[in-house]
């Protein structure tokens, strides 16, 4: 009978906590963040402390949160949408769920990294790179262009993440610049050569670092995170030179939700993210390229050469994604 008295109270306490534990702060600024708590959590708390504006943050996958926000529609509690990729935010923009940002905020960032309708703004840039294992591949043997990866000597040696948003953005850009059939042929050739596929950028960098695969296409900052965890890893970044589309720059973005009743605070939040403090934080903690306030990137990063980076307006990516996902499916990379 003594044993009986053990679980009973636990259950009662739990039920009381659940019933009593509802009710979030209704006056708080609600942020849907496609960026991870581990990376941006401290920054968001700093905003709250500095401005006295309470915040409620929902972290999740950018695309999942975009779908959620679209389902919630007018009833969404979200005031701000913070996205990893232009794709997810482009989807919400098309649904008419985002509000136009004030001109003075838009003026802080290169128009290449903003929506042409002013409904989202880029915060940081990520560059597409070729991650390679320096124990397997000699730097001198790396290709000049992402298009060279379809040559026989690279067949089966380059990892791709076909269901990943950043890879899709890269394919969209390729299709827009070089034409849809060029992009489709590139995808088909990669698939025919037996390019190994992975779930996401993380898995690619992980596999390259282990030596499971020699090279892989990923975003630049993942490898810096991996090296932070284990500096002995043999994975290195290689940036395709001379404006090659393989070195595409994409942006993490922020936007204000149209139905928000806290537009003013939401805009304050956007402004905070564009100021020096936040931009410095991104540079130091997330190894991304700050897009505003003239903040320099982390000294560990190669300087971002805007001149040689491909000239491309990422605003055009949102509308392309549906076609891109179909092209990727047709190539057989998803099978």
């Amino acid at each position: 009978m003594l044993r009986r008295s053990f679980a009973g109270p636990i259950v009662v306490v739990v039920l009381a906590a659940v019933v009593g534990g509802c009710g979030a702060d209704r006056d708080a600024l609600t942020i849907y963040s496609g960026r991870d708590e581990a990376l941006v959590g401290p920054l968001l708390e700093r905003f709250s402390e500095e401005t006295g504006i309470p915040i409620d943050v929902r972290y999740g996958d950018s695309a999942d949160l975009a779908v959620l926000l679209a389902e919630e529609g007018e009833n969404t509690p979200a005031d701000v949408f913070f996205s990893q990729t232009p794709g997810a935010v482009g989807y919400l923009d098309e649904q008419g769920l985002l509000a136009e940002l004030p001109r003075d905020l838009l003026g802080k960032v290169d128009p290449k990294f903003e929506a042409s309708d002013g409904r989202w703004i880029g915060l940081t840039a990520r560059q597409r790179v070729l991650v390679y294992n320096e124990k397997i591949v000699d730097e001198a043997d790396l290709p000049e262009s992402v298009f060279d990866l379809t040559q026989p000597q690279y067949a089966g040696e380059v990892a791709l993440a076909p269901s990943n948003g950043s890879f899709q953005d890269f394919v969209s850009a390729m299709a827009l610049i070089e034409g849809e059939d060029v992009a489709q042929r590139w995808l088909d050739a990669m698939a025919a050569g037996g390019a190994p596929t992975y779930a996401d950028n993380n898995s690619i960098v992980d596999a390259v670092a282990r030596g499971e695969v020699a090279m892989g296409l990923a975003n630049h900052y993942y490898n810096y995170r991996f090296l932070e965890e284990d500096p002995l890893l043999p994975s290195r970044n290689y940036v395709f030179p001379d404006g090659d589309i393989g070195a595409l720059l994409i942006a993490s973005t922020v936007s204000v939700v149209e139905s928000s009743e806290a537009t003013e605070n939401a805009q304050k939040f956007v402004e905070f993210l564009l100021e020096e403090e936040a931009q410095n934080y991104f540079a130091e903690e997330t190894f991304e390229y700050p897009l505003a306030s003239g903040v320099a990137p982390s000294p560990e990063l190669p300087p971002l050469d805007m001149q040689s980076a491909p000239d491309f307006d990422i605003d055009r990516l949102g509308a392309e994604l549906e076609r891109t996902t179909k092209m990727i499916a047709e190539s057989g990379l998803l099978d």
Binding site: V14, A17, A38, V205, E229, P231, L321
Partner: protein, 534 residues
Amino acid sequence: MASSTKTHRQRAPWPLIAAAFASAALFSGPLVYLVVRNLPGDASVNVAAAQIVTPLRNSLILATAVAGAATVLGTLAAWLVARTDLPAVSLWRVLLPLPLVIPSFIGAFVLLAAFAPGGLLEAVLRPLGLSGLGQTRGFAGSFIVLTLFTYPYVYLPAQARFRQLPPSLEESARLLGRRPVATFFTVVLPQARSAILAGTLLVFLYAVGDFGAVQLLRYNTLTRAIYTTRLFDRPVSLALSLLLAVVALAVVAAERALAGRRTFEMPRGVRPLRHHLGRWRASAAAFLTLLVGLSLAVPVGVLVWWSARGIVRGSTGGADLVSALSSVARPALNTSLASIAAAVGAIVLVAPIAYLTARYRSRVGDAANAVVVGGFALPGLALALALAVVTLGAPSPIGRLYQTLPLLVFAYVVHFGAHALRTSQVAVAGVPRAVEDAARVLGAAGVARFVRVDLPLMAPGLLAGAGLVLLSSMKELPASLLLAPAGFQTLAMKIWGATESAMFADAGLASLVLILVSGVLTWALVIRRGEAFV
């Protein structure tokens, strides 16, 4: 001796039918949403055959293979623990259910880190002149990972049943000269069939609905197709989700037919027969060591390695172990609260359905059964979106539930109610009619009879069900991400965020805490309590 406990002559009392109906109505929300969203609107959905055939076939092959393998492993482990003189039985009883708590996205990642080319195993073997295991992807990898992390679905109910089986039949068989192995297959197994099949069904549904493992290990299943189409091809994504639910319902029906109506009386107070393993003792221990080694020790080993590496280098956010651990304390508490509430809620909500289906023939019961079990096969994302839309569209008292803890707990209950349902049905069926009748004759009526006679008899089965709901809720991710109140972080959410940012030390620590908390809760609420009744 082996008389049926089910009488078809009696009609179910109407309050029971009403309660089961109400409960099923609560469970049906997400399914109704999917059906409504799939009703042809202006543009009918254009799903190419290729988009369906291969993923569907892959899903079915994978889920069937995993269900088969997990059934064999889980049953064998359960029998060894419940019915033999295995060394260190208590230790096995705590360890064997635990792999269930490892989220498949972290399980697959960790096993890759251990066994994939260039992984930790290879680093260990290289000095010895051996190489690693080669490719670990696609079907083989998904099959191994899912089997290793789902066998407890079979182990838990099978173990509960084995512990309750009366020794008399087995003793007779033995006295008549049957060898132990033959006795197991002809006497023990048939008596445990319904419990084992209940677990097999859960494994199948888990495997068919899993996304984390197949995505990391690159096996093209329905869940992956649902995921890749979720943003830019929503009609296809919704149609495929509905297809997944239909597959689940078909399998539920098949299992109901297979499990049959043969159940057995279980006299209470008789210790089950314990076999002397003799010279097989070492082999049995070796088998369990291998099983727990691969499904628990290797993952824990990799997680410890990540954490230790981070602590040594000071790369865990706060630079030292103490601050890293304190950042996990709150999520650990949140996870425990929500999961315990879900376990209790699930047992209570499915009770009328379990009673109705196990004791009477009833159309309402069959439909309710299907609705509850179907909730398990739905992708967590579809389930969460459905609950979001339903609560947001509802009038005030329900509408206010959106993004509150009760709604999250309810999502767990809907998602994992199936765990509690099948084990509850088995438990209800295990209460002999004769005992109830005797109680009735002796004057114990209604509620009193239920509490004093039925409940203690059902307790081990119910607790096994509650344990399954608890462990599954603790690792749930997609619904937690979308439905948890803002600022309410669970351990699975924390682990996911850390792995997304490649912060392996943080992910490792949080995962270890998840496994530890699950172990303690399983022991305190399931194993200890279960013991009290046997």
